[in-house]
């Protein structure tokens, strides 16, 4: 099948909805197999806590407007493109201190020992700058990773697009969107108490 190709005026967006993730790691594999990544995946898959949940999450960079990773970098090695894409640490500058790895509220950057450098997702700048979906979004079977226009999203998906988050007192705006039931709840509060569901006691052990 031919790949969709977007023009500048289409303003395509990147959407990550971990609730749709089935943990297949096709995204990780596609990232690794991308011609320009030379066998090194720049994303990873998180098993949130296998002992209590089967939930997995594709850890693709959210591309913060004011990136914490860049702010804490002592070597000023992490740069943002004009389009708002946060890049991997610049090889000549990166000192491998892993400040960014610890500071990122989403847990995205990884220190790659083989190259002594922080490497992370750059939203496939080589592809998206030409109007193509990032490698990961082009293979995701459940559209947990999705690339297209806002109109296409609302035409084919339910939920609302959200791009701001609360981590304690830190308010983070991201270039990449996630999906929530409705926007009335305001920013997605990472530290909020989880809402109760039947999954808290899936087999009725407490209720029976």
């Amino acid at each position: 099948m031919k790949q969709a190709r977007y023009g500048v005026d289409d303003s395509p967006i990147f959407v990550i909805d971990p609730s749709r993730c089935i943990g297949c790691e096709a995204c990780v594999q596609a990232c690794e197999e991308c011609g320009t990544h030379r066998g090194q995946s720049l994303i990873h898959l998180e098993r949130v806590d296998r002992s209590v949940s089967t939930q997995t999450a594709p850890m693709v960079c959210m591309h913060c407007e004011d990136p914490t990773c860049a702010n804490v970098c002592p070597a000023d090695a992490i740069k943002q493109t004009e389009g708002g894409v946060v890049q991997s640490a610049l090889k000549p500058r990166c000192i491998g201190c892993s400040n960014c790895v610890l500071a990122c509220p989403f847990g995205v950057p990884k220190y790659v020992a083989e190259f002594d450098q922080m490497m992370k997702c750059d939203m496939c700048t080589d592809r998206t700058s030409e109007g193509y979906a990032p490698m990961c979004a082009s293979v995701c079977p459940s559209e947990a990773l999705w690339y297209g226009t806002t109109e296409e999203f609302h035409h084919t998906r339910t939920g609302s697009l959200l791009d701001n988050w609360l981590f304690g007192r830190q308010h983070v705006h991201t270039k990449v969107f996630t999906v929530v039931d409705d926007l009335a709840g305001g920013p997605l509060d990472a530290l909020a108490a989880p809402t109760g569901s039947w999954l808290d006691d899936p087999f009725g052990l407490e209720t029976s």
Partner: protein, 496 residues
């Protein structure tokens, strides 16, 4: 739910649908028969009764019934879980009852359907891959069906054999010595059939066994002749999805070395058997052209699905009875079903237990299944490093309560024993499985095969073995292994 209790749940839901009158009477009256039989069978199937069998609170069953019964639209999708049981047909018919009772058929956002277990699992079963069938969902015992296909194949109707026997029965017959020769294509029963010890014994009894496969499978190691075949990435053809969409597959690479396309191997065998005249194909399109004609007039009618249109329209939905027909994306529209009177059948499903239930000697339920990174018997996926790294070996998923009872922590080796065999593997202690049940994925061979434990009991109608329900006992074994993902360490500590 505990394994094997599905039809009890569906019965209780139907009981609730009737009790609350969450029924589509108009649909039931106009488009179905035998609702009374289904209703009579569930008279006593209260949620409280089902709760005792299923091991879930009655209130949740009531809630599920209300959700299904009051929703304007709804789809129920099932996979091998309810089917690979000695009462799999009961389970599926009970599920269909729930769709019919609420009129959830033939309308947008509605349906009760199976998700097939493998690529083209749907297409194969439509055209004679199942050995009681002929192309187009035809019945090999039906004289009219035989006559139609004999005409397309240009042979005498008497030359078409009668009903064959299903896969598991073939293995039983081999073991019994009544089947002495086997030619298999992409079939790895040494891993995928229940009771692997029995299966291996059977394969060794064959007087002649020829295997066509793209890699040397564990079953191939029992063979007299192995013919290197091809992967779907190396061949061209169609695959039909669970939604009845015929999809074109194109070759991306050519088979390496001495490997050949499967259909060309079959043509050569036909030639050697003196029947080459019936197998004159230059390419896969010619084979598909024959299938179009052979399926024409059947329920899975491909006649209008031309090679070009399948590709140009990103797949076509059967039935597509003539060239130019748009195809049928939604079955049963207008409440028209494929029975001669156009009406769907309810079935009265009485409760019965699985072939094997837990007892004092084997007190824990076992269910087997898959992990996302491995495919079927693993002949392909156990050779791909990234997929192996993702889930390197089978783990025994168990609930913390069971683990505590056994004195086991995550990563400890445990020995799981059934009446058929035993397996020693690491425990994966997780809250996501019932305390009375363990799960082991089946993709590995030999001492790592989950099917060492499973039961050969089959459903009386579908003949599907009971992979999903067995009784086991578990003891802690010597040893411990880390179940954490080593790839993280490879990355950040440079161990790669």
């Amino acid at each position: 739910m505990r394994p094997g209790s599905d039809s009890a749940l569906f019965g209780a839901v139907l009981h609730e649908l009737i009790r609350h009158d969450w029924l589509d009477h108009e649909f039931i009256d106009a488009h179905t028969v035998d609702f009374d039989l289904a209703a009579a069978a569930v008279t006593d199937m209260t949620p409280a009764w089902a709760a005792g069998i299923c091991g879930v609170p009655a209130a949740r069953i009531e809630e599920a019934a209300e959700i299904w019964g009051t929703a304007a639209t709804g789809m129920m999708l099932h996979a091998r879980g309810i089917e690979q049981q000695s009462k799999g047909v009961d389970n599926v018919l009970a599920a269909i009852n729930l769709g019919l009772a609420t009129g959830k058929f033939g309308k947008p956002g509605c349906g009760v359907s199976t998700i097939t277990g493998q690529g083209n699992g749907q297409g194969g079963r439509e055209h004679g891959h199942k050995c009681d069938q002929l192309p187009g969902n035809r019945d090999i015992t039906n004289p009219e069906h035989r006559a139609h296909v004999a005409k397309v194949w240009d042979c005498d109707e008497s030359e078409i054999p009668g009903k064959g026997i299903p896969a598991q029965e073939i293995i039983e017959e081999i073991h019994a010595g009544t089947i002495k020769g086997l030619l298999s294509i992409c079939f790895n029963p040494a891993v995928s059939a229940p009771d692997t010890n029995f299966t291996s014994e059977a394969l060794d009894k064959l007087e002649f066994y020829a295997v066509i496969d793209f890699f040397l499978s564990e079953s191939g190691q029992h063979a007299d002749v192995v013919l290197p075949g091809s992967l779907h990435e190396e061949d061209e053809g169609t695959s039909t999805s669970g939604e009845g969409r015929i999809i074109k597959i194109n070759a991306a690479v050519t088979p390496p070395g001495e490997a050949r396309l499967d259909w060309q191997i079959l043509l050569d065998i036909a030639e050697r058997l003196g029947r080459g005249g019936h197998f004159q194909y230059e390419n896969t399109e010619e084979i598909f052209e024959e299938l179009r004609l052979a399926s024409a007039g059947g329920t899975a009618d491909y006649r209008g699905a031309t090679w070009d249109r399948i590709e140009a329209e990103h797949g076509l939905f059967w039935p597509i009875p003539e060239v130019g027909h748009p195809g049928t994306p939604r079955l049963y529209e207008g409440g028209r079903f494929f029975h001669p009177d156009g009406k769907a059948r309810f079935h009265g499903i009485a409760w019965r237990e699985s072939a094997e239930v837990i007892d004092d000697d084997y007190p824990v339920w076992l269910t087997t299944g898959r992990v996302v990174s491995q495919y079927l018997s693993g002949t392909q996926t156990r050779r791909i490093k990234a997929l192996v790294d993702q889930y390197p070996e089978p783990l025994c998923e168990m609930h913390p309560r069971l683990a505590e009872h056994l004195g086991v922590v995550d990563g400890d080796l445990v020995t799981v024993t059934s009446r058929r065999g035993d397996i020693t593997l690491p425990a994966n202690v997780v809250n996501t499985i019932r305390p009375d049940t363990v799960f082991i994925p089946y993709h590995w061979p030999g001492g790592k095969a989950a099917n060492q434990l499973t039961n050969r009991a089959v459903d009386p109608i579908s003949k599907m073995p009971e992979f999903k329900v067995a009784a086991v006992r578990i003891v802690k074994a010597v040893g411990h292994t880390s179940t954490t993902d080593v790839r993280e360490l490879d990355l950040t500590e440079g161990r790669a």
